[in-house]
């Protein structure tokens, strides 16, 4: 079989130094995509950077990497994102398009978010083979927790529209989901035949085994992410207070690493103010890519104070990469994906401070348990590197192009 022509891949996504959700996944995905012989060029259609976020940097080709061009062309919350993206795509002319997205990628309010979700349908209509990597599905998102609905009535209305938006996304050639259960839900509910399973993958596989010993200094309890919607720091801070004030423990420190979710501006500042009396607590703000290893490396345990679920977790894969013990919410499909992917941790009842306190204590008070969890997470992170997941997507793109070529041959 002759090797297919290398692909110019367009990717619609947030991207560092932009701070939007899924920027880190895009960073690692693109890093590996650029190393593939099947890829000639990568163009990121990224969101415009805000003041203080710095500038995008195009990367030239090297011996081992194809060139990377970044075209900022959309903005979170704007209503014309779909049109802007398609104008930029028309100029750049990629062979194929990959969306790295979730339901709130293009906007936090219903109108901008929904209009943005039309973008994959427009891409498909333009004739370019399109894959959507959808990190969550409307059916399993707790809309109230995620900041989309203020009450049950509004939630029901949004869910009605959500079905419509899901159908719009399903007009892409392929919709890739990271969890088998999500594939089942969309296949059954929408009778979709273009939904595929594509695992999340680990960001940094084949790294040398990390040290499982802890650095000197206070035991760090760390939480990482974009907070304010379904990632809530209040129970974690309250659990930390209890842990600090009880038991015969070495000094502790709570590190809350990351920023507000785009749907919850000001959330962390309010939390910091509300809990200003709590000692040994640190809010880092945005963590630049080069500082991520330090933040994870210094922590004794990584806590996921989630109140609802969003599918697989990039933070969990990072915790595994750095050989860290985890404390995880016992939520349906999140727990399922953790098991499926080989990860583990101490589980707690979501939003239950007592349960969370106990789970953290089981890790920090028991070095043997901490190391056992950390080692299993590290092993899980080595099983399926994102570099191999990229190959799955390249396979799918090649198949779509082959299908398109055959169709054109029949038509002509």
């Amino acid at each position: 079989m002759p090797m297919p022509k290398p692909l110019k891949i367009g990717m619609i996504s947030t991207f560092p130094p932009g701070k939007g959700s899924l920027n880190e996944y895009a960073y690692h995905f693109v890093r590996h995509m650029r190393t593939k012989a099947e890829v000639s060029e990568v163009v990121i259609f990224a969101d415009n950077l805000l003041n203080g976020e710095g500038e995008y940097q195009d990367q030239p080709a090297t011996d081992s990497l194809c060139p990377l061009t970044i075209v900022p062309c959309w903005e979170f919350g704007r209503k014309r994102n779909s049109v802007r993206i398609m104008n930029a795509v028309a100029k750049a002319k990629p062979d194929v398009i990959l969306y790295n997205m979730q339901f709130a990628t293009f906007g936090g309010d219903k109108v901008s978010g929904a209009l943005g979700l039309m973008s994959p349908a427009l891409a498909r209509l333009s004739g370019i083979p399109t894959i959507v990597l959808l990190h969550n599905i409307m059916e399993t998102v707790d809309l109230q927790s995620a900041g989309f609905a203020q009450n049950a009535l509004i939630e029901n209305v949004i869910r009605g529209f959500g079905n419509m938006f899901t159908r719009m996304i399903l007009t892409a050639d392929i919709v890739a989901l990271t969890i088998p259960k999500y594939v089942e839900i969309l296949t059954e509910k929408y009778e979709a035949n273009n939904v595929v399973l594509a695992p999340h993958g680990s960001f940094e596989a084949e790294k040398p085994e990390p040290s499982f010993d802890l650095n000197p200094g206070p035991l760090q309890i760390m939480s990482f992410g974009k907070f304010g919607t379904y990632k809530k720091v209040e129970p974690l801070i309250e659990a930390f207070e209890i842990l600090q004030n009880s038991g015969d423990r070495p000094p502790l420190e709570l590190v809350i690493a990351g920023t507000d979710s785009p749907n919850a501006k000001g959330y962390l500042a309010n939390a910091q103010k509300q809990y200003s009396h709590v000692k040994n607590m640190r809010f880092t703000g945005y963590v630049a890519e080069e500082d991520v290893p330090v933040i994870f490396g210094d922590s004794a345990v990584v806590v996921f104070p989630y109140s609802s679920t969003t599918g697989s977790s990039g933070v969990l894969h990072q915790a595994g990469n750095y050989g860290k013990a985890t404390v995880l919410p016992n939520i349906g499909d999140f727990a399922e994906v953790i098991m499926d992917e080989g990860y583990t941790g101490e589980f707690f009842k979501p939003e239950d401070v007592e349960s969370l306190t106990t789970a953290i204590a089981r890790v920090i008070d028991d070095p043997v348990n901490r190391e056992k969890i950390a080692r299993q997470n590290y092993l899980a992170s080595q099983w399926l590197p994102i570099s191999e997941v990229v190959d799955w997507y390249i396979f799918h793109f090649q198949l779509l192009l082959e299908k398109q070529k055959n169709l054109n041959a029949v038509v002509t």
Binding site: M1, V183, V196, L197, W383, E388, V389, F395, H396, L399
Partner: protein
């Protein structure tokens, strides 16, 4: 090796534990065949595999990619229903040549 085709027999749970070794074997075998100047055609007997996860699938993706880079390909045969379902869920059934019997899979290398 059967003629110019190398055969790999997998069994039981083809998950992360088996996947690492399989990846290494596939890479080494393809390079060995390539070094001998023959197409890297690999035949994988899946008939005794009762379960496959993402890591297992990924090992086969690595294998077929490597084989194609060296002018060959990788054929699978004998998939049990539970395994076939996972291939279908991931659409990798469209990427791999999959056959029912070993005979069909072997003959297909020459077609």
């Amino acid at each position: 090796m059967i003629g110019t085709v190398s055969k790999l027999e997998l069994d039981g749970r083809f998950d992360a534990y088996q996947a690492q070794g399989t990846k290494v074997w596939l890479k080494e075998e393809v390079e060995k065949m390539s070094g001998q100047g023959v197409k890297a055609n690999i035949l994988v007997d899946m008939s005794k595999v009762t379960f496959i996860d993402s890591a297992g699938l990924s090992a086969l993706v690595v294998g077929i990619k490597k084989a194609r880079e060296h002018g060959g390909t990788l054929h699978l045969f004998g998939l049990q229903q539970a395994v076939q379902i996972i291939f279908e869920l991931s659409w990798l059934d469209k990427a791999f040549p999959i056959y029912i019997t070993e005979d069909e899979a072997t003959k297909a290398f020459n077609s």
